[in-house]
C-alpha cells in the first residue's frame, strides 16, 4: 500500500510520499497535484525494487529540490515509523495523509483545508460513505463487505466518524505525533485505531466526502485474510478502548 502525506503551513503545502508503490503511480500523482497550491513533496522510499527511487530522483531534477525532497530509508519499515520519519523533515503545521496509487485524488486537498479552517478541527477525515462521497470499481460483493464492516464498526465503536478504514486525512502535526505514539495496530486497523484514539483524547474530527477510484493500478483485493484481521482488530479495539 502506498501512502503519502503532506503538511501545510498557511498557504504552503508540503506533501510527503511514503512507499512502497509503483513508480508509475508516483509520476502521475505529481502532476495531479497542480491545483494552484504551493507545495513541496518529501518522498520516503523504503528501498522499493521497482525503480521508485530512480523516478523520484528524476522528478527531483525536473521540479527542483525545493519542490521535491527524496529521503530514502535502508529497508522496509512500518507505516507509523515512516510517518514519523517524514514529519521530522516537514516544517508545516498540518499533515495530510493519502494513498499514492491515485485512489485518492489531490483535488480534495483544498476541501480538507477549507473544512479544517471552518471548524478548527484537529483531524479532517475523507469519507466515502457520506455526502457525495463514493467509490468506483467495486463490485457488489465488495460494497456489501465494506458497508457491513462499517455498520459493525459504527455499532461497536460509535466512533463519531463515518469512514474509519479510509486513509485520506488531514491532521494537525502535534495530533498526528500523539496518535502515532499511542497506536499499536497495522494496516486497516491502524487507520481505525487513529480515529478511535483521537476520540478518546477528545480531538475534534471533521469530514469531507471524497471519491475513491479503485483499481487504477492493479487489483485491490479483499481476501479472507484481510477480513479476519479486520475483525480481530475491531474486537481488540472494542475490548480495549
Amino acid at each position: 500500500m502506498a501512502t503519502s502525506s503532506g503538511s501545510c503551513r498557511e498557504r504552503h503545502f508540503r506533501f510527503r510520499l511514503l512507499f512502497p508503490s509503483d513508480w508509475d503511480k508516483l509520476k502521475n500523482f505529481m502532476e495531479l497535484g497542480k491545483s494552484g497550491i504551493n507545495y513541496e513533496i518529501i518522498i520516503i522510499d523504503d528501498g522499493s525494487p521497482d525503480g521508485t527511487r530512480d523516478v523520484a530522483e528524476q522528478l527531483e531534477k525536473i521540479y527542483g529540490s525545493d519542490r521535491i525532497l527524496l529521503k530514502p530509508r535502508e529497508k522496509k519499515l512500518g507505516l507509523g515509523t515512516a510517518y514519523i520519519h517524514g514529519m521530522k523533515h516537514a516544517t508545516g503545521n498540518y499533515i495530510i495523509i493519502m494513498d499514492a496509487d491515485l485512489s485518492h485524488h489531490p483535488k480534495f486537498i483544498p476541501e480538507f483545508i477549507r473544512k479544517q479552517k471552518e471548524g478548527n478541527f484537529d483531524i479532517v477525515s475523507g469519507t466515502r460513505y457520506k455526502g457525495n462521497g463514493g467509490v468506483y470499481g467495486w463490485d457488489l460483493k465488495r460494497k456489501i463487505i465494506s458497508r457491513g464492516a462499517n455498520f459493525l464498526t459504527q455499532i461497536l465503536l460509535r466512533p463519531g466518524a463515518s469512514d474509519l478504514t479510509g486513509s485520506f486525512r488531514l491532521y494537525r502535526k502535534e495530533v498526528l505525533e500523539k496518535l502515532i505514539e499511542k497506536c499499536v495496530s497495522k494496516g486497516y486497523v491502524f487507520q481505525m485505531e487513529m480515529i478511535v484514539r483521537a476520540r478518546q483524547l477528545n480531538y475534534t474530527i471533521g469530514e469531507v466526502p471524497i471519491s475513491f477510484v479503485d483499481r487504477v493500478y492493479g487489483e485491490s483485493k479483499l481476501g479472507g485474510n484481510e477480513i479476519v484481521s479486520f475483525l480481530k482488530g475491531l474486537l481488540t479495539l472494542f475490548a480495549t478502548t
Binding site: N28, M30, L32, I62, G134, V135, G137, V213, A239
Partner: protein
C-alpha cells in the same frame, strides 16, 4: 394508590435513577465492551426481575405475555434492522463514474507532460 404502593414506586424509581446515573458515569470511562456488558446486565436483570415477579409487582397477564419473549423479539428486530440498513446503504452507495473518467484523462495528460519535461518512463 395506597401508601405501600406509593413507597414501592418511589423505591423502584430511585433505584432506576441511581442505576442510570452510575451507568452514565461509568460509561465515560469504560471500554466499549464493558459498556455493552453493563447495558446487557442492567436490561437483563430488569427483564428477569419483572418476569419472575421479584419486585413484587402485579403485572396484567397481557404485559407478562409480551415481556417473556421480549429478548427474542428484540434480537430478531435488531437483525432485521441491521440487514435493512446495510442493504439500503449498499443500494445507495455512490458510484463515481465521472471521477474515474476524469482521472484517466488526467493520467494521460500527466504522462504527456512529464515525457515533455524529460522523464524517462
Amino acid at each position: 394508590l395506597s401508601l405501600g404502593g406509593l413507597r414501592l414506586s418511589l423505591v423502584r424509581f430511585s433505584f432506576l435513577l441511581l442505576r442510570g446515573a452510575l451507568f452514565s458515569f461509568l460509561a465515560v470511562t469504560m471500554t466499549k465492551l464493558a459498556q455493552w456488558l453493563w447495558g446487557l446486565a442492567i436490561l437483563g436483570s430488569t427483564w428477569a426481575a419483572l418476569t419472575t415477579g421479584a419486585l413484587g409487582l402485579e403485572l396484567p397477564l397481557s404485559c407478562q405475555e409480551v415481556l417473556w419473549p421480549l429478548p427474542a423479539y428484540l434480537l430478531v428486530s435488531a437483525g432485521c434492522y441491521a440487514m435493512a440498513t446495510v442493504g439500503y446503504r449498499v443500494a445507495t452507495f455512490h458510484d463515481c463514474e465521472d471521477a474515474a473518467r476524469e482521472l484517466q484523462s488526467q493520467i494521460q495528460e500527466a504522462r504527456a507532460d512529464l515525457a515533455r519535461r524529460g522523464l524517462r518512463f
